[in-house]
């Protein structure tokens, strides 16, 4: 006898836009499916933008609540993910303001840094301690990468997280952030350059080009 698929399985192949319609029609399971689809990406974005996982989890929940409330505002002019991410980015930006989680922002770290801290610009020269295998052995690459992302100013960080972590196209990012395509490109180039410098300084990435 053939097994009846569970509700979530039935919804797994349904498009986001159809899930929105179903939610608006009163199908609670449809929105749960949206949450299931996006929770990881939203939480990742919130973590990278806010730094603190606890605040990120709370903010990610807020994102879904807000999306649920305003779902009827989604008119299908753009992809659901684009519309949804405008909520994600705005909510995280507000959370960042309200929670004052900029303690790890570069400038503050300059002030806080002790002697020899990696945050000191002088240390951002190509490191001769490039030894990723050692770092990996100590399980530090992950931390170094996250620190590097966290260290980038917010407007650049948004773009690199949307592109490299959340995998949006340039055009989608431009729509989400409501800015020009050129702005997205230049910010991404700048963000990657900054991140590269930080990874080199942390010894995670080797200096590649003279």
């Amino acid at each position: 006898m053939q097994r009846q698929p569970a509700p979530e399985e039935r919804l797994a192949s349904v498009s986001d836009e159809a899930l929105v319609e179903r939610t608006l029609a009163g199908d609670a399971g449809a929105f749960d499916q949206i949450v299931a689809r996006y929770k990881g990406r939203v939480f990742s974005y919130a973590c990278r933008m806010l730094g603190d996982p606890e605040t990120a989890a709370e903010t990610a929940q807020d994102v879904f609540m807000r999306a649920y409330r305003y779902l009827e505002n989604f008119r299908g002019d753009s992809k659901f993910s684009t519309w949804f991410y405008t909520i994600v980015t705005t909510t995280c930006m507000n959370a960042s303001k309200y929670h004052g989680l900029r303690a790890r922002n570069r400038d503050e770290r300059y002030f806080e840094s002790e002697e020899g801290s990696v945050s000191d610009p002088i240390d951002r020269v190509p490191s001769d301690t490039y030894a990723p295998e050692k770092l990996a052995a100590r399980g530090e690459i992950r931390g170094a990468v996250r620190d590097a992302i966290q260290d980038i100013p917010e407007i650049y960080r948004q773009v690199i997280v949307l592109k490299d972590v959340n995998d949006f196209s340039y055009e989608e990012i431009a729509r989400i952030l409501e800015c020009e395509l050129g702005t997205v490109k230049s910010r991404l180039a700048r963000a990657r350059q900054m991140m590269r410098e930080r990874l080199i300084a942390a010894g995670v990435l080797g200096p590649e080009c003279d």
Binding site: T89, S169, V204
Partner: protein, 508 residues
């Protein structure tokens, strides 16, 4: 197509991300095949991107979906509850009965008054709006002791007032030509707004009556809540939302909000526009812009105010600014699913739950948000029933202003939506004020039996320090039918000037 290193550097990220067209991609590939340095650049940036992808992603915490579902369910329940309450709506004031929620509502007003820096509006005897800057203590949560004095005869109150949902219109001059008769049902034509807009700015709001609001008869005040954030409150009165003026006001509010969201300086639309240009992109902060309408707003497909439901701002939040398009000057409102400020009988046991700050409300729905170190203050509520609300309000305003003038530490505010004055100050001065009100409006104390019972209750509580803070809510309730004893209504002169009253020990 031939590509050199400079040209390649311009498109290196497009190349890595596969965003180039075929021709340029082929040219780029050709270039890096010939140029080691650019090839290394590509490898380095690819590695950077991979690392961000690999290590930047997270798994959502366990139970995340369940938490979201719980919050959604809680909001849905709150919606249903508010609709049910509305269906069972009855006029909340009855003869000889002051429901518990009402006294709670009065005490909730303290939250509005509390928290630091307020700019209050009240009506001068001449009808113009005056402002007073005051400093209030930290957040206070009222508890006891509570006294009730009914300031007029109440015969016929039930029948008369049950058809009178609107509070009286106090500001004839401010809302010139748009005021409504007190007894006229507001349901069809009036949308009264209470709008709270958060701003970065501490202290008094700058929009005032200058940037759109004034022309339409609106007022604004700002206050700092216990969380240290400033809010600006707009009271839009007697204005059909569809009118141009209301529209202008909404624009003004939004511009103001945008301006402050951007940290712009100056006032008015110009400054907002300037900031917008300067910053490029703008994100409105939906959770701090609450547009609420009291009672039944014109577009109340949303939730009309349920019976007995009050909020610190004395009106439920029924719409939020959800988006603002800077290019098209478009904006949209949506009803929030939650009614965070509502409380009903069931919530009365934990009134703190309704005191969440707007910015925090979605973070912890239903969680008690009692501020640490909150101060308890005494509170009381008086009701003035009147067949001539306009005159009564004028008289009462004059009396209040006289009182506030004589007692610089006291603060007062007329809250149009709730149809009441809220006054706070030292307990003893509040007692003196009540005596003055009783003298002016022919009030009488509670029935001896009730008074005795109140006294016994009060005796069971520790002595209240008469120098502590207290808050008084004075409701003005219009009646269609004159009370039975209206003819005999005493026009006793106010007996004690406030200064003298101040010296009295009015406490228990």
């Amino acid at each position: 197509m031939i590509m050199n290193c400079d040209r390649f550097n311009e498109i290196v990220h497009d190349y890595i991300d596969g965003e180039l067209d075929e021709i340029r991609e082929a040219a780029a590939a050709e270039h890096i095949a010939a140029c080691d340095c650019c090839a290394r650049e590509v490898r380095a940036f690819r590695r950077t991107r991979e690392m961000a992808k690999q290590y930047g992603a997270e798994l959502a915490p366990e139970g995340f979906e369940e938490s979201v579902r719980e919050r959604i369910d809680a909001e849905t329940r709150a919606r249903r509850r508010s609709r049910r309450q509305d269906a069972a709506r009855t006029f909340p004031f009855r003869i000889g009965h002051i429901p518990r929620w009402a006294s709670l509502a009065a005490t909730f007003a303290i939250v509005i008054l509390a928290g630091g820096y307020l700019k209050l509006f009240y009506l001068s005897p001449a009808g113009s709006i005056q402002t007073a800057k005051i400093v209030t203590p930290n957040r206070v949560i009222s508890e006891a002791p509570e006294e009730k004095i009914v300031l007029s005869e109440k015969a016929g109150m039930d029948a008369a007032t049950s058809e009178t949902p609107a509070p009286v219109e106090p500001r004839e001059s401010a809302a010139a030509g748009k005021s409504i008769a007190a007894a006229e049902p507001v349901k069809d034509k009036i949308a009264t707004d209470n709008i709270i807009v958060a701003s970065e700015e501490k202290g008094a709001g700058k929009i005032g009556l200058a940037s759109g609001g004034g022309a339409a008869g609106y007022t604004a005040s700002s206050e700092t809540n216990a969380d240290g954030k400033s809010y600006v409150r707009f009271d839009a009165e007697s204005m059909p939302l569809a009118t141009q003026e209301a529209r202008a006001f909404e624009n003004a509010v939004e511009r103001y909000e945008l301006q402050h969201a951007l940290g712009g300086t100056g006032t008015g639309a110009g400054a907002a526009d300037y900031s917008l240009k300067k910053e490029g992109a703008i994100a409105v902060q939906p959770e701090v812009a609450h547009f609420s309408k009291s009672a039944v707003a014109a577009d109340s497909e949303s939730r009309p105010m349920p019976a007995g439901a009050m909020s610190p701002s004395s009106a439920p939040v029924i719409a939020e600014l959800t988006s603002y398009d800077t290019a098209g000057d478009k904006y949209s409102f949506s009803p929030p699913a939650a009614m965070p400020y509502y409380f009903d009988e069931a919530d009365a046991a934990q009134p703190e739950s309704a005191l969440e700050q707007p910015s925090k409300r979605s973070a912890a729905p239903g969680a008690a948000a009692k501020a640490p170190g909150s101060v308890k203050v005494a509170s009381a509520m008086d009701v003035i029933n009147t067949t001539n609300p306009r005159d009564t309000l004028k008289k009462c305003t004059a009396l209040m202003n006289e009182f506030l003038k004589a007692n610089p530490t006291a603060k007062g505010q007329w809250q149009q939506n709730a149809g009441r004055f809220i006054v706070s100050g030292k307990y003893k001065t509040m007692v003196a004020l009540r005596e003055k009100l009783a003298a002016e409006f022919g009030g009488r104390k509670q029935a001896p039996a009730a008074a005795a019972s109140e006294k016994a209750k009060a005796a069971a509580k520790p002595e209240y320090d008469t120098d502590k803070d207290a808050v008084l809510a004075v409701y003005i309730r219009p009646m269609k039918t004159p009370p039975a004893a209206a003819a005999a209504s005493p026009a006793a002169p106010a007996k004690a000037p406030a200064a003298e009253a101040d010296t009295k020990s009015g406490g228990k």
